[in-house]
């Protein structure tokens, strides 16, 4: 078996999700190549070559890959896929964007967000907001797979020494143009890689009140997240959202503050090792998944927690 993993990176370094995807590839078994495609991404290729368990790094450095436009990335993946039995990417907004496009161009189905590898053609994936797990077997000759990264440990980031080979980009499709990206400024640890996350919901009442969570987060070295309700209300930006349609995370400790616990929110955090819920409504569904529940007014409990740490 030969597996191509599409690396997610910022041109200089690898995004952590790539390392979890490599582990999923290792569980399938076989030679693993890592594709680093971007514009000015030789730094990321260097980082990729250090990942343990990689056979080769394929580096495609081309202006047409600026902004990782789906059309151009998919065409590149399609041009390489014929050499592989499996193509894997993380089920992040990066991977979810171009992978189905590449799959359709190859006339294969995509197996979305696998949470477990059973064999080279059989996988488990969550459906219905994680309320069911489907075991599926693929008959396609090339298997295009996205990986739910919280279900796989990260491969070792350094210690490997894979050769870097240059690979040519497909022609620019000319169909789309990258305009820009706006990222919320934060000094804090990234949500998907944090070992502790404290999230706020509608109960926070406004964006200003999220500073209470910031203070606790700083003491714990935690990231701050939010429920969809809090993002919809404009309290915090969209990249804070934890849930079925936001980020799926599984930190060691998840503290849900003023979050009722809709099915869609639980889908994004219920694999956390320890879950704490603070809510004044003792009937809130969040308490059904909490290891430690505290029925309290968050405006009293959070400052108290802040002081106690």
């Amino acid at each position: 078996m030969s597996i191509l993993v599409i690396a997610e990176h910022d041109n200089a370094t690898l995004v952590g999700a790539t390392l979890n995807t490599v582990t999923a590839a290792q569980q399938i078994g076989g030679d693993i190549d890592l594709l680093v495609a971007g514009n000015g991404c030789s730094g990321a290729a260097q980082a990729a070559s250090q990942v343990v368990g990689i056979n080769r790094v394929l580096l495609t450095d081309d202006a047409s890959l600026e902004g990782f436009l789906a059309e151009n990335v998919a065409d590149l993946v399609v041009s390489l896929a014929g050499n592989y039995t499996h193509v894997l990417a993380a089920a992040t907004t990066f991977g979810k964007n171009f992978m189905p496009r590449a799959a359709a161009l190859l006339d294969v189905s995509q197996i979305s967000e696998i949470s477990e590898v059973i064999s080279a053609d059989t996988f488990v994936r969550p459906v219905y907001a994680g309320n069911a797990m489907a075991k599926v077997q693929s008959s396609d000759s090339i298997k295009l797979i996205t990986v739910r990264t919280t279900k796989f440990d990260a491969a070792a980031e350094t210690g490997g020494d894979a050769a870097i080979e240059t690979s040519t980009a497909a022609a620019d499709s000319g169909l789309s143009r990258f305009v820009g990206v706006s990222t919320s400024e934060s000094e804090r640890v990234e949500l998907t890689s944090a070992s502790i996350v404290i999230s706020g919901g509608r109960g926070m009442q406004n964006g200003e009140n999220f500073h209470m969570l910031d203070s606790v987060a700083d003491k714990l070295g935690a990231a701050v997240g939010a429920s969809r309700a809090a993002v919809d209300a404009g309290f915090v930006p969209n990249d804070y959202q934890v849930g079925q349609t936001g980020k799926v995370i599984a930190p060691d400790l998840y503290i849900a503050v003023g979050i009722s616990g809709a099915i869609q929110h639980l889908a994004g955090m219920k694999d956390s090792k320890t879950i704490v819920a603070i809510n004044k409504d003792s009937e809130a569904p969040i308490f059904q998944v909490a290891d430690y529940g505290l029925v309290a007014d968050l405006f009293e409990a959070v400052p108290e927690l802040d002081k106690a740490l």
Binding site: K96, A103, R177, V181, S182, T183, N238, Q264, V276, D291
Partner: protein
């Protein structure tokens, strides 16, 4: 301009899915069904484009069993002009759906295809991307803002790092995220009017496409249950337990 909007009938998002005892799938007997929430955003956006005078016609397409007509009637009540139902008893994979979309696009020649970014049942998040691939059109996925500017679509996309803006040629496929808009409710008069709006039914066999699934579902299982937790009396007890019992802080 014309817009084709995909809509899917799914289990109501407020209802917790129950796995069948024989592990063959989800028990949908007598379950409350509704339009996939992301599809509601796609329909709403199409209607707003028509209200703004940007487009002239909103066509809604659903692919599924006869009961999907309810979902299409709902879209018509929200303001879509006409509907197409491709009838199949099979639960098709996104690749097959994309082939059907392509056939309908060839017939209807829309300028835009709008879909929800994912269905909340199978959670594939593939159909929009696959439709655009098969059509050779650009894609703008996870859209939270759409503007038609000088014959192109300027789309803000919700990505893991924040908000990304791309500009795509038209025709294009756009997949809606939840913050693209706030979907309206259908008024009673519009629900009545929707019953008389045109709805064309096409048998999937008449399209002559290979829509065979590439995956077999071996079984559908319950997720592992979490051990039940405890309630604490106050913050001091919580901190004590996190330090000494869970050992996570």
């Amino acid at each position: 301009m014309k817009v084709l909007v995909g809509v899917k009938r799914v289990l109501d998002p407020q209802v917790k899915a129950r796995v069948k005892a024989d592990k063959s799938g989800i028990d949908l007997t007598n379950a409350k069904m509704t339009m996939n929430p992301f599809c509601e955003n796609a329909v709403e956006e199409a209607i707003r484009l028509r209200e703004a005078g940007t487009i002239e016609e909103v066509i809604v397409l659903s692919i599924g069993a006869a009961k999907s007509e309810e979902t299409l009637r709902n879209a018509l009540a929200l303001g879509a002009d006409r509907a197409i139902l491709v009838l199949t008893e099979d639960v098709l994979e996104p690749l097959a759906l994309a082939k059907i979309f392509k056939a309908i696009v060839a017939k209807e020649t829309p300028d835009l295809v709008l879909v929800g970014k994912q269905a909340i049942d199978d959670e594939c998040n593939q159909t929009g991307q696959m439709v655009s691939a098969l059509l050779g059109w650009p894609q703008a996925t996870f859209a939270s803002k759409l503007e038609i500017v000088d014959g192109t679509a300027q789309v803000t996309r919700e990505v893991d790092s924040g908000l990304e803006t791309i500009n795509v040629n038209i025709p294009a496929v756009i997949s809606a995220d939840l913050r693209l808009n706030e979907p309206r409710y259908a008024s009673l008069p519009n629900v009545m009017k929707a019953k008389r709006k045109p709805l064309e039914k096409i048998d999937i066999a008449d399209l002559g496409l290979d829509t065979a699934n590439r995956m077999t579902t071996i079984e559908v299982m319950e997720p592992p249950a979490r051990a039940s937790g405890v309630m604490v009396e106050n913050v001091a007890e919580l901190v004590e337990k996190l330090r000494n019992e869970a050992k996570v802080i």
